[in-house]
Amino acid sequence: MTDPRSQILGAIRRSLRRSPRDAEAEETVRHRLDHHPRNLIPARTAVGPDGLVELFVAQATAVAATVERLSSPEEIPDAVLRFLAGHNLRPAARVAPAAVLDAVPWERTPTLDVTRGAASADDLTSVTPALAGIAETGTLMLVSGPETPTGLNFLPDNHIVVLRRDQVVATYEDGWDRLRAAGAMPRTVNFITGPSRTADIEQQIQLGAHGPRRLHILLLDVQEG
């Protein structure tokens, strides 16, 4: 009983004046973890589905993300090209190897140099899907997986995220529910709210500290399927 683990747990139990196998405490904890009840949800998201999309756009824009609304996935390549041209950037993008982006007709925009796969150190622009958009704070929820390597979210200077309108939910809790419905917790869940920033030098905000300098959201006004 002298290993650090038992000593630390023993010290906690002594401080709490509790025995090692406290059935009541274990039951309390088990119940809470199994049921994961929600706590207070701020009222700002009680605005209906259209209101949520508006709130999402307003909140994302307020933290220096940009949003363009599209009416079909076919418009994505041109929108990417427009965004890059608008910032005088090379017309090239590393696109996540995700099934939802397979359906996009990339070949119809030959001036855009599209490569698929995980990010390399030289990629300047990435295009990825998201699991959800959280209206409460204009936050994107992205998950890692074979189709969605995490590096795409952080290595390039410009991150373009494709989000469908029906993926916009009210709160983080709604995002967790979607994730639980989809199966197990992935290795990485990223909540991304605006581009990278720092205020470490004289409290002046600078975008693009280490992660993307720009975050651009393509919001598709379509439903799944």
Partner: protein
């Protein structure tokens, strides 16, 4: 880090005389306070959220052993490893052993208060590992070999030109004539230099703002994205976290996250909030192959069940620091340990002992703003008072103070004697300060008069004026 909390009075004196520090602290205060107030004004449920945050953490502390066991079981089920460390030394050794096992030569680090607490970076450097802090503020102070002066803005005590000096010295290969006047230039240069470090690193070390018992996830919150590059690019990810970081569920983290960013920077949400659960999965194209969590006690378990247990609810948001008049005057280094400000004054005596940290609970005007802004409702003044009482009981306070307080208590229990004495003193001090209405020097009280003047009494006590039927002058009165 080697604590110098015992030298707080000398540290504070030096800080008050430092003109550059005054300038840097001046810009800090207004930004943090205004941004926080604006964010809270946009959240009508703020007070209820605080109450829920407090409840969640109190519930965790009351079941800490069980939650830690559940967290550990989930980490292991996800293919990760958990290492328990009773002391700072055990935690350092655990991290070093993981690095050695991985054959590591270079390490990147995200910002983490507990790794500062255990002195991890210098230790790994001593053992031949190139260790680079990647948070911009932490990187700057690492170059300058300084400790952080603020828990979320570690280089807040520095001005732009000081940062530029450090970069010119450290980044030798670059054009000496390059412009480094603006914060933008400095940020871009750090980005380019650190990008190479991220790509080279064998091990990435982060802290954790939260550990989630439900899923075995560790959570980091950053604005720069440095924590994410730190933990997703190297082959091994090591998380160092103190015991009290555990929370029950994803719902509970969500509630506390609503409190954290608003209290810290006044943002609605921090740019990057990342949940890491085990190593990369089969089929994942990137992510670390190994995932380790080092759980650090280093004095926490002994605080449970004591009068200062409530400090363990702290989420290190820095709101109390940003609203503290003492911090605003002396800055973070004067406190002589990792966590400054009110939370430092409440926490440090519990972790380092009263002998080392006895001055810190006295570094307070007891104005109460820290408690009013604390999102976790920690009664910071009460805990500081508790340490002051302990200091007094342990006879650690200075003799002059103890005798002075004893003499005052003796007098105060004898009203007529007290009044005569007070009248005498009021007359004397009134005469001393007759010309200017203030006293610039006072025997036995130079600790006060060195930094400000004492308004001179009017020559009579309150009781005397009251008996004469006159109201004492209000501050606006013209003499």
């Amino acid at each position: 880090m080697q604590p110098t909390a015992h030298a707080f009075p000398e540290n504070a004196r030096a800080a008050l005389a430092d003109a550059r520090l005054r300038k840097a602290l001046g810009t800090m205060k207004s930004g943090f306070q205004g941004n926080r107030a604006a964010a809270i004004a946009r959240m009508p449920e703020w007070e209820e959220l605080r109450e829920e945050g407090r409840r969640i953490k109190d519930h965790v502390l009351a079941h800490l052993d069980v939650y830690l066991e559940r967290f550990e079981a989930r980490v292991v089920a996800n293919g990760g490893h958990v290492h328990w460390a009773r002391t700072a030394a055990e935690a350092r050794e655990a991290v070093l052993a993981i690095c050695r096992q991985a054959g590591a030569r270079s390490v990147t680090k995200g910002k983490s208060m507990v790794t500062e607490e255990i002195g991890l970076t210098p230790f790994l450097e001593q053992h031949g590992l190139q260790t680079v802090e990647t948070d911009l503020g932490e990187y700057i102070i690492q170059l300058r070999r300084e400790p952080p002066s603020h828990i979320i803005a570690p280089a807040v005590h520095l001005t732009r030109d000081q940062v530029a000096e450090s970069f010119r010295r450290a980044h030798g290969g670059l054009d000496p004539g390059r412009p480094l006047e603006e914060a933008r230039d400095l940020t871009d240069e750090a980005r380019a230099v650190l990008r190479r470090k991220f790509l080279e690193a064998d091990v990435g070390i982060t802290g954790a703002n939260f550990l989630v018992a439900e899923t075995g996830s560790t959570v980091i919150v950053t604005n720069e994205g440095n924590g994410d590059l730190t933990q997703s690019l190297p082959r091994v990810h090591v998380v160092v976290a103190s015991l009290e970081k555990v929370v029950p569920t994803l719902e509970d983290v969500s509630t506390i996250l609503r409190l954290l960013a608003r209290s810290a920077t006044g943002q609605e949400f921090t740019s990057y909030t990342t949940f890491s659960t085990g190593p990369r999965r089969p089929g994942d194209p990137d992510g670390p192959e190994e995932f380790h969590v080092v759980l650090v006690d280093n004095g926490r378990s002994a605080l449970l069940g004591t009068e200062s247990q409530e400090v363990l609810r702290c989420i290190r948001c820095s709101a109390c620091i940003n609203h503290c008049p003492i911090y605003a005057a002396v800055g973070g280094h004067a406190y002589g340990w990792i966590v400054p400000g009110p939370i430092g004054a409440a926490l440090t005596p519990g972790l380092l002992g009263l002998e080392e940290a006895r001055h810190l609970p006295n570094a307070s005007t007891f104005c109460g703003r820290c408690e009013a802004v604390c999102p976790m409702k920690i009664p910071l003044p009460k805990i500081m008072r508790h340490w002051r009482e302990k200091e007094h009981a342990a006879a650690l306070s200075p003799t002059s103070y103890r005798y002075g307080l004893g003499a005052w208590a003796w007098l105060a229990r004898r009203p007529s004697l007290y009044r005569t004495g007070a009248a005498l003193a009021a007359r004397l001090l009134g005469r001393l300060g007759r010309d200017r209405g203030r006293l610039v020097r006072l025997p036995f009280a130079d600790g006060w008069t060195d930094w400000r003047d004492l308004p001179a009494p009017e020559g009579k006590t309150f009781f005397q004026l009251y008996a004469e039927g006159r109201r004492p002058n209000s501050p606006g009165d013209v003499r």
